[in-house]
Every structure is written in C-alpha cells, then in structure tokens.
C-alpha cells in the first residue's frame, strides 16, 4: 500500500512538473509582456501586448501599450493609442491626463491647452491635476491670468514655488538692450558690465582706451599712417563694444528665459506632471 501511495505521489508531481509550456497562450504572452514592461523593455513589451490583444480584449493592455510608447518618447503613437481607449474603459480618465503629458513633452502647447480645456469641461476625476498641470504650462505662455486664479488649484507648498515663477514671468529681471548700447556708447565696456559680463567689459574699456590713446598720441607726433591705423582699430573696437553690449544683453535675457523654462520643467517633472501613479509593477 505504501509503495502504491509513493508511486502515485511521484507520478502526480512529475506530471504536474512535466506540463508542456505553451509559450503562445494568451495568459503566458501577457505574463511575459508584463515582465518586459516592468523591466522597461517597452518595445518588446508592446509587441507582446499587441499579440495578446489579437486574442483577447483588455483595456489595461491598451493603456500599457500607449504608456510604453510614451516612455519610449514615441509621442505620435502614444497619442494614437491613448485616444483609442474607449470612454467606458476604467483607463479613459487616466488616458486623458496622459495625453496632456504627451502634448507637453512633444512641445505642442496649443493641443495641450485645447485638450486640457476639454478635460476640464468633463467630469474627469483628475480635474484638479489637469488644472494644476495646465496652470503650470500657462507659465510658458505670454497671457497670464490673475495670480489668485493661477495659484488656486495648487497645494500650499506648490503655491510658493508657482508664485515665484509667476512673479518672475510678470516682471522678468531682463537687461535692456537699448540701455546696454547707450552705456557702451558713453563709456566703452560699461554696457557689458551692466549685463554682468564683467571681464569682457573691462577688456573692451582697456582696448578701446588704449587704441584711442595711441591714435591720439600718433596724430600729435605727426605719425599720420600709424595714427590712422590706430584710429581704425579704436573705431572698430568702439563699434564692436557697442554691438557686443547689445548682444550681451540679448544673451543675458536668453539665459534667463532658459533658466525659467528649465525651472518650470523641473517642477513638473518632480510632480510627475500631475499624472497618477500606476501599480502595474508591484
């Protein structure tokens, strides 16, 4: 009897172990695709998910495909796939805000704004996130609403950051190109110092002064050829210093704009673009 039971157990366990793996069964394709997705191998995961969708309908998989495209930076396909998620799907609302993220990352501000407005008119549970996202992106545009309106959807901590961005945008600490030019016309190099380009300013002042003095000195000593050479050089440096000061103000302002844009982008990135956090890879 004991022998029979032992044999039965042995046979039973070995039969379980021995089941042939069907690599192409929908369940196994999905399991493998999830594994790839969680290992951030999105391209292969998408291939597998698409195979799975040919056999079964699953809106979570459609969402994951779109999300995979987004992670890969393939924005066109991401928009296409997020848009294909039906309104009765559990992922419809999340797809809406993810589409906003895609438009933002693809630098398509006009589509972003119109899509955000559409979402805000609907009963999207993420409407507060959409509004915060939209109000952050509005900081990149020229038409700012009143400060209170812009800050209203944000949390207390976020408000102080956004308020700083808002103030900066309203009164950017730009340097005037005209003032820089005029200053350099009066005192060579001073326009560059005004734009905080100190080393260039001092160099321009010394060189223009030196060549001006040499020209004057040579005229005085009647070395007219040398005097004209130095006059030409002094005039060149003088004109260059004025032009350079205007360019320096432009560069200063461009750098400020760049820093502002990067600051807002970093703020959005740190807040995950106000999109939900998914537990696909627990």
């Amino acid at each position: 009897m004991i022998k029979k039971i032992t044999l039965f157990i042995f046979l039973f366990t070995s039969l379980i172990l021995s089941q042939q793996i069907d690599f192409n069964s929908p369940q196994n394709i999905k399991l493998f695709a999830d594994f790839l997705f969680c290992n951030k191998d999105y391209l292969r995961a998408i291939d597998e998910y698409e195979r799975y969708l040919k056999m079964c309908e699953d809106d979570s998989i459609q969402f994951k495909i779109a999300y995979g495209f987004l992670q890969m930076g393939n924005y066109q396909n991401a928009i296409e796939k997020f848009s294909a998620i039906k309104s009765n799907s559990n992922f419809y609302d999340a797809a809406g805000i993810e589409k906003l993220k895609v438009f933002f990352l693809a630098n398509d501000t006009s589509s972003f704004i119109s899509e955000a407005d559409l979402l805000l008119q609907s009963n999207n549970p993420y409407n507060n996130n959409v509004l915060r996202f939209k109000n952050s992106v509005i900081l990149f545009t020229k038409n700012l609403p009143a400060k209170d309106i812009l800050l209203s959807p944000f949390t207390f901590e976020e408000k102080s950051i956004i308020s700083d961005f808002y103030d900066w945008k309203k009164n950017p600490p730009y340097k005037s190109e005209q003032i820089a030019g005029i200053l350099s016309t009066i005192i060579p190099g001073s326009g560059k110092i005004y734009t905080k380009n100190y080393s260039d300013g001092i160099t321009a002042f010394i060189l223009t002064g030196l060549f001006g003095y040499l020209a004057y000195s040579n005229f005085e000593h009647k070395h007219s050829f040398r005097a004209w050479v130095f006059t030409g050089l002094a005039a060149g440096f003088y004109a260059g210093n004025i032009y350079g000061s205007i360019a320096s103000a432009q560069i200063f302002n461009a750098r400020l704009n760049f820093e502002f844009d990067e600051g807002v982008k970093l703020f959005l990135e740190n807040n995950n673009y106000f999109t939900p956090v998914y537990d696909f890879c627990k």
């Binding site: 044999l7 046979l11 039969l15 021995s18 089941q19 042939q20 793996i21 690599f23 399991l31 493998f32």
Partner: protein, 279 residues
C-alpha cells in the same frame, strides 16, 4: 509480475513526461538560437528573454543570458551586452562558462573603447587562470585592447611573444612604422618653422608657414635694429608670435590627423580582411 509491469509503466510515463517538459524549453532555446543564427537579433533577444522568463528551474540561465549578450553585442548595443554578459558570468556553472562570459565582457569593452575596464578584467582573469590556452587567449585580447587604445607598438610586441599571432604582429609593426611622431613634428617646428609640416608630407603648408615666419621675423628684428621698439613689439607680438604658435599647432594637428587616418585604415583592414578572431 503484474506489479513489476505496473512499476515499469509508471517509470516510463514519468521519464517521458519529464523529457517532454525539457523539450519544450529546449525547443524554445533552439528556436531562439535559430533566430540568432539568422542574424535576427531583436527577435532572438525576445525569444531568449521568453526562455529565461519561463525557465523556472534555471536550466538555460547561462546560455540565454550569454546569447542575449551576444545579440546585443552584434547589434551594437554594447552597454546592454555587457549587462547580459555579466549576468551570464553570475549564472555560470563551471570554469569554462565563467571564462567565456568574462572574455566577452573584455571583447565588448574593447569595442566600446573602455580599454581600462577591459584590461582590469584581463588582469583578473590572468590572476585566476592557470591553463596555457586560456592564458594565451587573455594575452590575445590584451593585444587587441592595445590596438583599440592606439598603442600599435605594444600590441605588436604582445602578438609577437611566443608567436601568438604572427599576422597581427606584422600588421601592428607596419602600422607603428607608418605612424608619425607627434612630438617630433611639433618640436622640429620649434626650431625650423614649417619643418613639422614637411615631415608629415604637407609641403605647401610647410612652405607657407616657413615664409610667414621668415617675413614677420625679419620685420620684427628690423624694427628693433632701427630702434622702432613699439613697432617691433607690435609686429613681434601680434604677427610673428601668432604665426609661430600657429605653425607649432599646425604641425601637431597634421601629425595627429595623419596618425588617426593610418590607425582607422588599419582598423578598417582588420574589420574587413582579417580572418582571425576579432573582438
């Protein structure tokens, strides 16, 4: 007798079912290997990853990781290749598998020109290995590491030792002989402006450089002789010095560029015409 037959039957069933399970993974392995052999690397990686995912008993762990590494390497994705060769090393079950995974880490590092890393692994392997064949292989890859580090002379010496690879040794020697000395080009131009350009075969550039330096040198010296100190300083500083320094940089650049060309031609030749083992 009947009882014995039953046992035999059960035994047969058990064995055959186990073989079927193994075959299923083996088939997947064969399928993936076939894709690899057809150079369909993207698909091969997918199928090897699938094998790894379903191989719960870790029978194919080394092979699958190794082939994924190879596929990535052949596809030019060296960072990913290194990751999988490292995994293969961790999953290796014997010394040969360990050595194979390590040697491919070296080869990938050579290809992506992280030569220090390649040498570090080679040093480690050298400390661990005792077999002559493997020590020779280590030496062989060290030679290749030198080639990719542009140290053709050192590479030639390594390949010559114990006649490791006479073809490569000859090639390295000829490339080294063909190379220009950057320091000679630069410092010879210190003494005679334009000489470095002549040395690298850039005769027109050498002549022009020589001419400018003679002209401005003459004007500078002449100004000082005539006691026109200011003119002498201005011409010497803004013209002669500018052309003199330009001549040195020019000579150095020509030698570097020519060497790069020689080196790239040699690597191109190795890639297309050398039939031996390559990284």
């Amino acid at each position: 007798m009947i009882f014995v037959n039953k046992i035999f039957l059960i035994f047969l069933l058990t064995i055959s079912s186990k073989i079927v399970a193994q075959n299923s993974l083996q088939d997947q392995f064969d399928f993936a290997t076939n894709l690899f052999q057809q150079e369909k690397y993207f698909d091969a990686i997918t199928e090897f990853k699938r094998l790894l995912f379903f191989d719960k008993q870790n029978q194919f762990e080394f092979k699958a990781n190794y082939y994924i590494g190879l596929s990535y390497k052949n596809g030019g994705k060296f960072d990913e290749a290194l990751r999988y060769f490292t995994l293969a090393e961790i999953k290796s079950t014997n010394k040969d598998e360990y050595f194979l995974a390590k040697s491919f880490q070296v080869r990938t590092n050579i290809l992506r020109r992280t030569i220090n890393q390649a040498n570090k692994i080679l040093n480690q392997l050298e400390d661990e290995e005792t077999s002559n064949t493997k020590l020779n292989e280590i030496k062989y890859w060290r030679g290749w590491a030198c080639i990719f580090a542009d140290e053709w002379n050192k590479a030639g010496q390594i390949f010559s030792e114990d006649k490791l690879d006479t073809t490569l040794a000859k090639l390295c020697k000829s490339v080294n002989d063909e190379m220009y000395s950057v320091n000679f080009a630069k410092y010879s131009s210190f003494i005679i402006p334009g000489f470095g350009q002549f040395y690298t075969g850039e005769y027109v550039s050498g002549l022009i450089s020589f001419g400018w330096n003679i002209l401005f040198g003459y004007l500078t010296v002449n100004s000082f002789v005539d006691e026109r100190i200011f003119d002498g300083i201005v011409i010497g500083n803004f013209l002669w010095l500018r052309f003199y320094i330009g001549n040195l940089q020019n000579a150095e650049n020509f030698a570097t560029q020519k060497n790069l060309l020689i080196s790239n031609n040699a690597l191109n030749y190795l890639q297309n015409n050398f039939n031996g083992l390559k990284p």
